[in-house]
Amino acid sequence: MLQDKIFKKLIFTCGLLIILLGIAIFITVLIGSIPSIKAFGFHFLSSKQWNPVSDEFGALPFIIGTLITSILAILISIPFSLSVALLLGEFFQEGILNEILSSTIDLLAGIPSVIYGFWGLVVLVPIIRNIEMKCGIPPYGVGILTASIVLAIMIIPYTASIAREVIRLTPPEIKEAGYSLGGTRLDIVRKVIFPNSRSGIIAGILLGFGRAIGETMAVTMVIGNSNTLPKDLFSPANTMASVIANEFTEATTNIHLSSLIQIGMWLFVITFLVNLLGSIIIEKTEIKGGLNG
């Protein structure tokens, strides 16, 4: 009995500590960004001027860069991650193909991001450069499109693994009912599996989105790191995480440092909101699955 009590207290304390840690991190970041908030106010979010020499800082190019690359990455990854999820959750629920595919996907999730960046730089960049040369665009090779493709590959495992679970949860009774009505397999996928697991898939996509927003190293290596507003998909840009990683070590003036921390704060807020949205949707899926089963 005593053991139980101690055990309960122990895990309670540990859990509480983690929550406090999260809050403490946010408070630290908030305090760190006060000088920059005072100096620039909300103008910080709308100004496109980022000039460490004259100490003028606005985060718009980075916010735009982050959102464009992440959204584009999601759009590129959806067909692939849904296909993988369907293969694993519906077509090959067991067997050797399932084993191979799911361990490959797990492997993709485990590769360090710097390796993705390196691959992007030596393989993807020359390919994009060739395409750009043929289209008559300045052949940088690096830029928004390259970064988005690398990001897309990185987030496939996250979206796919959650989507696979919810697809697998589809009650067999409904599927059988569908077949008995004369539906083809495509009909079942489109009209039974997808509607039934829609919210789970969206949650998976949001988790992938959260990951794409915060990705740093791989993006820095292939995005071109230009602190200006991007003009098109091929132009170099920069993201919030990337500019922090780039400039933090050598930021000497307080306002420069504080502005970088403020970018970190907004990144924290955006990631938090995305994750929150994701977990709310997952929760809903679970209830729904229970009712149907």
């Binding site: 001027q49 980022w50 000039n51 460490p52 020499v53 004259s54 730089l121 960049v125 020359p126 450069r129 300045p138 052949p139 940088y140 090779g141 690096v142 820095t220 290596m221 071109g224 790191n225 230009s226 602190n227 170099p236 920069n238 990337s242 990683a245 780039n246 400039e247 933090f248 070590t249 050598e250 930021a251 000497t252 420069h256």
Partner: protein, 354 residues
């Protein structure tokens, strides 16, 4: 199993205890800062430890971080690739001094497969990095490179994306030679670049330049030498085209130097000096007691600085760093001698002898 764990724990505790007692008398110094001189410092500190038994722990966290740590008094010394300007000096609670250790240079590297030797003037470099000159076969570039057929490909500018001393030296140079650069861009470790792509670190810039035909970028001399990269000769103030090398950078420091050694070597007056170079410094409090050091540690820091600027200099050239020129070393000596501990000088004749 349980017994074994207990024994292991006790063993660890005993080892830590012994280690603490054994090292209690040894002085350990900590420093933090610039990444550029890190390979040299690592070599120097390792030799210094072997010779004098004093362990120096140097963290290459970047110049900005090093300066912040000195300000916060969490390290015994800091290291920086850029000297502190008057405004920055005022932010310290007590005065600090700059001790030059070695010099470095920034070279302009390019990717033109059929061009082996390229000459550039300061004006051309500024115009390229401002985005004004866009093609390699521009008349201005062709005029000073007779005999070379320059291609009509576009010029792709590559710069550092991370804040760095290399960018500082490069932009400091451009600010001196181009009024337009000075007013539109200015000097700093991170800039608001008018054009081009950013890449992280010397390897990032080198990689992008090597991959992109027609690219131009800037990297540290050491990095360019070690990787057999092509770099341009640059016209200095005296009108001579100078190929960057350890010798021409050492020559660049042969000018009249200020007593506090807070000096930029860019656009040097030296006739045979390469124009884009600069010192890298170790920064300590002028009175080491103000930095929170013990007397023993203060003495150790001063001895270490003396050794680094004298005997330690022989490790520069094998690692492709530029040793201090004579006049620079004499100034450095004066600065080291001026460092005190609670008003008392730290360096005696006995120390100087070694």
């Amino acid at each position: 199993m349980k017994k074994f764990r207990k024994i292991a724990l006790i063993a660890v505790a005993v080892i830590i205890g012994i280690w603490n007692i054994a090292s209690a008398d040894n002085i350990k110094l900590t420093g933090a800062g610039a990444t550029f001189p890190y390979p040299l410092y690592a070599k120097m500190f390792s030799v210094y430890h072997n010779n004098y038994g004093i362990q120096v722990n140097y963290q290459a966290i970047g110049s900005g971080g090093g300066i912040r740590q000195v300000k916060a008094k969490t390290v015994d010394f800091g290291a920086s690739d850029a000297f502190l300007n008057n405004k920055e000096l005022k932010m310290f609670s007590h005065p600090v001094v700059h001790v030059p250790i070695t010099a470095g240079a920034v070279v302009v590297t390019y990717n033109l497969p059929f061009v082996k030797e390229l000459k550039l003037t300061p004006e051309i470099i500024a115009d390229i990095f401002l985005g004004k000159i866009k093609k390699w076969n521009n008349d201005k570039i062709q005029a000073i490179n007779p005999g070379i057929k320059l291609p009509k490909t576009g010029i792709f500018v590559v710069h550092r994306s991370d804040g760095s001393g290399t960018t500082f030296i490069f932009s400091d140079y451009l600010s001196k030679v181009s009024p337009v650069w000075a007013s539109n861009v200015g000097r700093g470790k991170a800039l608001s670049w008018p054009c081009g792509l950013g890449a992280k670190g010397n390897p990032g810039v080198a990689g992008l330049v090597n991959q992109t035909p027609g690219a131009i970028g800037y990297v540290e001399l050491i990095y360019a030498i070690q990787n057999n990269m092509k770099y341009a000769s640059i016209r200095n103030r005296s009108g001579n085209y100078i190929k960057p090398s350890l010798t021409s950078v050492k020559e660049a420091a042969k000018i009249k130097l200020p007593d506090d050694m807070r000096v930029s070597l860019t656009n040097t007056n030296s006739k045979t000096g390469y124009p884009i170079s600069g010192f890298t410094w170790i920064i300590v409090y002028k009175d080491l007691a103000n930095g929170g050091l013990s007397f023993k540690k203060a003495k150790a820091v001063i001895n270490m600085l003396w050794w680094m600027t004298h005997d330690g200099q022989r490790y520069c050239e094998p690692l492709n760093y530029v040793p201090l020129s004579n006049n620079a070393r004499i100034k450095a000596e004066k600065i080291i001698k001026s460092v005190t501990y609670k008003g008392k000088t730290l360096i005696g004749k006995k120390d100087v002898a070694r």
